[in-house]
Symmetry: C2
Subunit: 446 residues, 2 copies
């Protein structure tokens, strides 16, 4: 197998490029590179390909003449939506709205979604604080020069290990890698510990419950402390599974209690499903595993949903137009693709498929870590959203490169974790192919 | 003429919606609403439609089978670009790179472009400060918890009246309207006055030069003051014409001196061409009117370019991969459309067309303000990027609604300004149609 690298003078981040791809030749779960190498792809463009490469249902969107206009005339959705936009929203995003959520706002990407979700929470919080009265003259005057009270000292509580994006607001809640954060100014916002659980979860129920209790206590302490500091917590943001930070899980009980803490202290509760959403955990939203009717105030999404955006409860609707606004406010052409993805998910019962494949994958990872305990540990997952740790980062990286040379393309996260992010059309026979290659690599590993 | 409004339960910002559109039936400079009303559109989706609705060249992109894959397989560009991506960049974005700029980074939207441009300047500035050494242990440790020195107290200097986007980093440099800023936490960054010039510029050369000198002096004072405060200015961000803030112009001399001040104080100079870029001023980039070989360190774009992104000088290239990164890093399908737009601009000499139409438009606006001096004043513009002020906001809004009912759709900006943002295929006969309708409205105005 050969790997061709190309230094392109005008490209900025060539250092991060793994290889160039032939997307025309890629199909389903298989990614093809420019040299014709065909790989089982379980990283899927950082978890953003929902039903595989070149899916016929998506190709059909392109060839339907009724759709051409949505691609060539990108509207300013906030002011001049296309006639069919409400219907398209109803058949796409609103058909999968999380429990209790009646509103959705599309955005261009995950970071913009979280930035605007934060703003929605700040606006809601300040409206509560001022009793829904008009802003004072002082607020109006100071906001234009970035000063309090117009630009208030509010904060968002986040968790160590979290990843919520890399624009400046999002980045103040992201704490997964130094390379994301270094040299970028930030906000003095509270950061709580995320539970460090022991796996398999079933074997460490008591220890894990203790760890989660410790973290929840810290959350409440931080909320009180930041209120005293004059920087009240307007919202809490959390991933159902910390993804970039190393696939860190917590129990439904932890999230239920955290949601209650948010309610008790008057903070909005924002569940960031940018990576976990879209069916990969076996439910459409990972937070559905918590079993709550009122799981959150805000749920943000992107990646597998093909458009960014966020849902929120009615109560968080901004009081005036143009408070949440930008030129494009999303992209209706992405909604067309999403509608088709949802049709395929329903027609082919893909969430059941994910649950089945996920069980096989996790069982296989358990078997591998039993067979290679000096190399692998901490297999964990929900649906096909699985991960396993190597003994160190060099070993992890070496396994990944060897696997790639045998036709398996995986992603990493955290310090020494391999993460599995296959499509929703990842079947049990793909699991076996994955496990066979991984087993070959491990058997050869010195 | 009737206007149908629809309250959609799942749409967030219904209050901002002007009307629903029939984009299929819209053509060239004419936007058609759901009731079949056909309007000459000189707002063009907030200045983001480059060559008109349903342009045949863009329709062809959709029907070319070679392009299907770019739409249905959106890659993670930073790690797995398509084979043809460097070539596509060379024939699209790099073919129009501003003078002195060899690097381009695509992004999904204007805000993300500016957020990442700011980050690029912060990284460059800190690398200079630490003499290109590795970060200290203290920096590595503190950055994960949002604290200095890892997250340093650096600032971006912006101008009163500026608009650079509405995510939290961008919003700290935006100072155009209260509704953008209220209730959102911000950074203590310096804000300089933008020159308040008198129009027509030719008639107030001396007064305007004095006003510009006053603002430049203030810029230098702020740079010194913020350095003393421990929040050094890493970059200066400015629009060549303040758009959202009310179409405020400044002279080439002002920008040349500002660029020199940035250089003298070691600050990066970031020209935000999100609204001014793409040919509407008669040159592809508005900063070309300054006549500089080295106009800026960073130039950001979006809207008419169809993709967001920013150019920068080689020197601002981040030292490591993954420092500027996100899942999608733009969207190659947008680059396909941009290539075609550029072909059309070249083939049809559209920049000359814009210059010609722009002259006719500005002359016409001068005539109108002479005829209706109690209603209109301060006509100004470059190319077709023109504007005129009404005597107050109520009058402005009333003129706009009456014009819309006569088939002319315009946008507003600032407090009482009408802004003209036609496509690049806006010909002299469109100008006359516009002026006729406007004249009719003004003649009837009480």
């Amino acid at each position: 197998m050969t790997w061709r690298f190309c230094l392109s003078p005008g490209l900025q981040n060539v250092g991060a490029i793994h290889f160039f791809c032939n997307y025309e030749e890629s199909r389903g779960n298989y990614l093809v590179d420019v040299d014709g190498n065909r790989m089982l792809d379980v990283y899927t463009q950082i978890s953003s390909i929902p039903i595989g490469y070149n899916h016929p249902a998506l190709m059909k969107v392109m060839t339907n003449p009724n759709n051409v206009s949505a691609f060539v005339n990108r509207p300013a959705l906030g002011i001049l939506p296309p006639e069919n936009f409400p219907d398209k929203l109803i058949e796409s995003l609103l058909s999968i709205a999380p429990s209790g959520m009646t509103r959705v706002q599309t955005m261009a990407c995950g970071s913009c979604s979280n930035e605007n979700a934060f703003k929605t929470m700040f606006i809601w919080y300040r409206n509560k604080e001022r009793g829904y009265a008009n802003p004072s003259e002082q607020e109006v005057g100071t906001c234009m020069i970035n000063q309090s009270p117009g630009c208030p000292d509010l904060s968002i509580l986040s968790f160590m290990g979290a990843f919520h994006g890399r624009t400046l607001g999002c980045l103040a809640t992201t704490h997964s890698k130094v390379i994301h954060k270094l040299d970028i100014p930030s906000f003095d916002w509270p950061i709580a510990p995320f539970p460090k659980l022991q796996y398999p979860l079933e074997e460490f129920v008591r220890e894990n419950a203790q760890e989660e209790a410790r973290c929840l206590e810290e959350v409440e302490d931080l909320i009180v402390k930041w209120r005293q500091k004059g920087k009240p917590v307007a919202g809490i943001v959390i991933e159902p599974i910390q993804a970039e930070g190393g696939d860190n899980h917590a129990s439904p009980d932890f999230f239920i209690k955290l949601r209650n803490i948010a309610r008790k202290h008057g903070c909005a509760f924002h569940v960031d499903e940018v990576q976990t959403g879209g069916g990969t955990t076996g439910k459409f939203w990972a937070h559905e595993h918590w079993g709550l009717d009122d799981p959150a105030d805000v749920v943000s999404f992107s990646k597998k949903l093909l458009t960014g955006g966020y849902y929120h409860r009615d109560e968080l609707q901004p009081d005036k137009p143009y408070r949440i606004f930008n030129t494009w406010m999303g992209d209706p052409s992405k909604n067309l693709f999403l509608s088709e993805v949802l049709n395929v998910i329903r027609r082919e019962n893909l969430l059941e498929e994910v649950t089945r494949s996920g069980k096989a994958l996790l069982q296989g990872l358990y078997a591998l870590q039993t067979q290679y305990p000096h190399i692998l540990s901490r297999a964990r997952g929900q649906g096909t959203f699985c991960a396993i740790d190597a003994c160190n980062d060099a070993t992890r990286d070496s396994i990944m490169i060897k696997a790639r040379n045998k036709g398996l393309f995986m992603g990493s996260c955290g310090e020494k974790t391999i993460r599995f992010r296959p499509t929703l059309v990842f079947k049990e026979y793909h699991v076996h192919q994955l496990l066979n290659i991984l087993n070959d690599v491990l058997a050869e590993h010195k």
